[in-house]
């Protein structure tokens, strides 16, 4: 099984703008790698370059020992010879071919004899539970079925590398949950290396073994999902991952009262440098009895938003609004005064790089 390596990959569409800037990425054999980032961050471009549908302007892409693209050495393997599988965001099923023909297409291209082709297409469709729609046409299928057929079409050729470009974004919430589990199962069963593009952090956290967060064409962090959540490499990752997002309090010269309060607490500990910004995740902001060592402050409750299993509370802490998420029922009512506290803060320097977690119980994957 192959390791996919990207080194020094850059992509520009003419002009000064780079879709991808000098990207180095190693996808280990058998990994389920998520490329995560906001739209326009270069994640889909990266995926398409791996598939060979777009060409880098610099750098090398290799699978194992096989160099697929090397601008510097003048090497290129066209997409049809890469032997990968790709699922598109809109599935791209061929409307003029039946489900069976869609799934058999790749096998036909590989000159697999008809009877084996048939068997493998059926097996692939069984695997994604749409075998009963075998003789229908894509336009007669629901969105979820189309998605499964696209998956089956890819799985039928049994590629060692599976590429998925936001394949779940067009599904409704229930189906998405189901397909997440399905994809995870397929990953475990097939042992293939999967690269999965998404802008949905929940998808990345739930499915991936590795998450690569990208922004503006640059890799921000590569880590195991929970590591990335617990130890975001910089402000971008910290704010992008997590919902509701981490609150970031600037600690500049013209700081808010809240920032002042937090900063006094952080610098009261020896060995801590003064950060440029401090981040607090909503679920780290607690409303129960504070431990002695924690930072705490009185706060006004502005609104309580119950969501079944959790309660989101909008607080006014000194002069700043903060959100807290509680997984135990919140008794407080709007207008009440409560005490909020935290013992987990993320400290960032002037460049936005994360310095340390203050007082943090380091979260590990």
């Amino acid at each position: 099984m192959p390791t996919i390596s990207l080194s020094g990959i850059a992509k520009s569409y003419g002009g000064g703008d780079h879709a991808v800037k000098n990207l180095d990425l190693l996808v280990p054999d058998g990994a389920f790698m998520c490329l995560l980032g906001p739209s326009g961050c270069g994640k889909t471009t990266t995926l398409r370059m791996i598939a060979g549908l777009e060409q880098p302007t610099a750098g090398t892409i290799a699978v194992g020992d096989r160099v697929l693209d090397s601008v510097e050495q003048g090497l290129y393997v066209p997409p049809e010879k890469r032997g990968m599988g790709l699922v598109f965001q809109n599935y791209a099923l061929w409307p003029h071919l039946s489900v069976r023909e869609n799934v058999e297409f790749g096998l036909r291209m590989r000159k697999v004899p008809a009877d084996r082709r048939r068997a493998r297409a059926e097996a692939a469709l069984e695997m994604v539970h749409v075998a009963d729609a075998m003789d229908r046409y894509p336009s007669q299928l629901s969105g979820g079925q189309q998605q499964r057929v696209a998956l089956a079409r890819m799985l039928a050729v049994d590629p060692a590398v599976l590429l998925l470009d936001e394949p779940l974004s067009n599904l409704d919430a229930r189906l998405r949950l189901e397909m997440r589990a399905e994809l995870k199962r397929i990953h475990e069963e097939s042992g293939a290396t999967i690269i999965f593009v998404t802008h949905d952090q929940l998808e990345a956290l739930t499915m991936a073994t590795h998450v690569a967060v990208m922004n503006k064409g640059e890799l921000q962090q590569l880590a195991a999902p929970m590591d990335m959540y617990g130890r975001p490499a910089n402000r971008f990752v910290a704010e992008f991952v997590g919902s509701p997002p981490m609150a970031i309090v600037e600690v500049g010269p013209a700081r808010t009262e809240l920032a002042g309060s937090l900063l006094r607490h952080v610098t009261s500990r020896p060995g801590n440098h003064a950060p440029a910004a401090i981040g607090i995740r909503p679920e780290a902001l607690r409303l129960d009895e504070p431990p002695v060592s924690a930072w705490s402050e009185t706060a006004q409750v502005e609104a309580v938003l119950p969501a079944g299993s959790s309660w989101t509370v909008r607080l006014r802490v000194l002069d700043t609004e903060l959100y807290a998420v509680s997984y135990t029922p919140v008794e407080a009512r709007p207008g009440d005064t409560v005490t909020c506290w935290t013992d987990q803060m993320h400290l960032f320097d002037g460049e936005g790089t994360r310095l340390a977690a203050w007082n943090a119980v380091e979260v590990s994957a």
Partner: protein
């Protein structure tokens, strides 16, 4: 598993390696090569003729060296002088220009009144038979434009022109020249052919206006006529201006009608003047005239585009409540229906029946001389040039076969080229190539057909470099016909490919299909429908095409259209009418079937 250690930025790769990479990529992606080929072909077939015609307009032609006082091939302003300032300029240019303006204006007014009125009746009132009328009133556009002029001649021709007399004249009624020939009949005939343009465009616009817009005005207290003046009319402006400019553009390039009806009294418009100049072998003058027509055509389309852009802010999306209430005509319902029927009768039944009756009677329309000999007779006494019925002998069949072969081939080339252009535009990685293809393939739309044919003659009439002289060859005819219909097929090709997107092909590519396999198994099968309409629409339009063909055919390659015009020239009214009927029947049947089968609307094909 982590980010590779940031290596020192690699030294700038040698250019040759980089180039090698680019070349390897290109070798596996024929899109680039295809795009380049299309660029070269379009540059040669569309841009080069225009350059050639311009250069011919400014260069001394052979035989003119004495008049111009310069050597052949030298740059000169002689032709400009001759066309615009000399003593013959009135005859060559100013008079035809004035006539063209008169005819255009007249045709526009006629088409607006009839087409606009009928559009209002059919879309906004409860006139009986609305659905049927909506289809029936488009039929005149499916007939070749000079059908009407032949019918007119059959009815009103006097002894001034040779051949069979018109019906009235034969009855002893002297038809004056102004009624038989010249501007009045030209305007009426062109108006009858082009009012469906206005009917369709205005009708669509009326249909799209949200009734709520009018209701709002009514509720705010505006009386009916104020609503029409302040709300409906401004909203209709884009459609009206589009229709007007389209009709003017078409009239500018139309040849058959002014030729048939203008020739006997020497009434010339720019298109027939251009034809005359080419027949007289005054290439320089012809080039100036062609250039003038091109310029006017371009101006028209640009002003249309400009007006449309300015009016875009007016574009309203029709709500669901649009048009469920129609004005009640009350007692005028049936008179209104009578009016609409009259339009149909005059624009479809009268011309067709006139042609049909005249083709089966020896003395036009005199039922006592009923005969089928003009269709089937083995021998026709007195007709030296065409001594038998149209279905006898080889002329009609040869011409029909030529039409089918040439127009069919041109249509197929056109459709495939359109689809390929769409493919390159959508897939292509080079935006400049895509932009060039998009614009240049649309360029012939701006240029009246007859001027484009003249331009092609400029380029291809003589051998240039390795390209032999192509004048009179079917090859040239096919090329020019394909190119003039390219705007429509490239537009629809681009639209079809854009709608498809690149993913289906990319999915096949990742699945291991080579370029040919992708084309054969994915792209063309999916685009089958687009391909069929892309062939049929240019085919129908090409079948009726006269302006281009008349410039480029010789007697060796007779088409149905040129055959019928030839018969008019001989004065064989019945035979000419019979041939036009054949064309009208074929073109009508094909249009009708296509609309039925593909559910495409003729309005969408107006450009073609």
């Amino acid at each position: 598993m982590a980010v590779l250690d940031k290596v020192e930025a690699p030294p700038p790769p040698r250019k040759r390696r980089r180039l090698l990479y680019r070349l390897r990529v290109l070798r596996h992606d024929p899109t680039a090569a295809l795009g380049l080929i299309l660029v070269v072909v379009l540059a040669y077939l569309v841009v080069a003729p225009l350059v050639a015609v311009l250069s011919d307009a400014f260069r001394v032609q052979y035989g003119d060296d004495v008049h111009a006082g310069q050597q052949p091939g030298e740059w000169t302003g002689y032709y400009l002088w001759r066309v615009f300032r000399s003593q013959v300029s009135g005859l060559l240019f100013w008079e035809p220009l004035l006539n063209t303006l008169v005819v255009s204006l007249g045709t526009v007014v006629f088409a607006l009144v009839v087409g606009g009125g009928m559009a209002w009746l059919v879309t906004r009132t409860n006139v009986p038979g609305r659905v049927w009328l909506a289809g029936a009133l488009v039929v005149p556009y499916m007939l070749p434009s000079w059908t009407f002029s032949l019918a007119w001649l059959t009815l009103f021709k006097n002894e001034r022109a040779g051949g069979q007399l018109g019906v009235l004249q034969a009855q002893g009624v002297r038809t004056p020249d102004w009624l038989a020939y010249g501007p009045l009949p030209i305007v009426v005939c062109l108006g009858l052919h082009y009012y469906p343009f206005v009917f369709l465009l205005v009708g669509n616009a009326l249909r799209r206006i949200d009734a709520q817009l009018e209701d709002s005005a009514r509720i705010l207290g505006a009386p009916r006529r104020v609503v029409i003046r302040r709300i409906v009319a401004p909203l209709m402006l884009p459609a009206l201006s589009s229709a007007v400019l389209l009709v003017v553009g078409r009239v500018l390039g139309t040849f058959g009608t002014p030729y048939v009806l203008g020739l006997p009294t020497d009434y010339r418009v720019l298109s027939t003047g251009l034809y005359q100049s080419i027949r007289d072998r005054s290439t320089g003058v012809a080039s100036v005239l062609a250039a003038v027509i091109v310029v006017i055509g371009v101006l028209i389309v640009f002003s249309d585009a400009r007006l449309l852009r300015e009016h875009r802010r007016f574009v309203t999306v029709g709500g669901k409540g649009a048009m469920d209430r129609l004005s009640d005509l009350r007692r005028s319902r049936w008179p209104a229906f009578g009016l609409a029927m009259a339009a149909f009768v005059v624009s479809v039944l009268v011309p067709v029946l006139t042609l049909l009756l005249s083709s089966v009677t020896r003395t036009p329309m005199d039922l006592s001389t009923l005969t089928l000999s003009y269709w089937f007779a083995e021998e026709l006494p007195g007709a030296v040039g065409f001594p038998h019925g149209v279905f006898r002998g080889s002329e009609l069949w040869t011409a029909a076969w030529n039409s089918l072969r040439i127009v069919g081939l041109a249509a197929v080339i056109c459709a495939v080229a359109g689809l390929l252009i769409g493919y390159v535009v959508v897939r292509g990685t080079a935006p400049r190539v895509a932009g060039f293809l998009r614009q240049v393939s649309f360029l012939p739309y701006l240029i009246p057909g007859i001027a484009f044919a003249a331009a092609s003659l400029s380029l291809f009439a003589v051998a240039r470099g390795p390209v032999p002289a192509l004048y009179g060859t079917t090859f040239l005819l096919i090329l020019v016909m394909a190119v003039t219909h390219l705007p429509y097929s490239s537009r629809s090709g681009i639209a079809a490919m854009t709608q498809l997107g690149r993913e289906p092909e990319e999915a096949a590519q990742v699945a291991g299909a080579s370029w040919w396999q992708r084309m054969r198994r994915i792209i063309f099968p999916i685009q089958k429908g687009a391909l069929v309409t892309g062939i049929v629409l240019p085919f129908i339009s090409g079948l009726k095409e006269l302006s281009i063909v008349i410039m480029l055919t010789t007697t060796g390659t007779q088409l149905l259209t040129t055959l019928s015009i030839g018969l008019v020239d001989y004065g064989y009214t019945q035979l000419a009418n019979a041939v036009v009927l054949v064309i009208a029947l074929v073109s009508f049947t094909m249009t009708y079937l296509t609309q039925r089968l593909t559910k495409s609307s003729l309005a969408a094909g107006l450009g073609g």
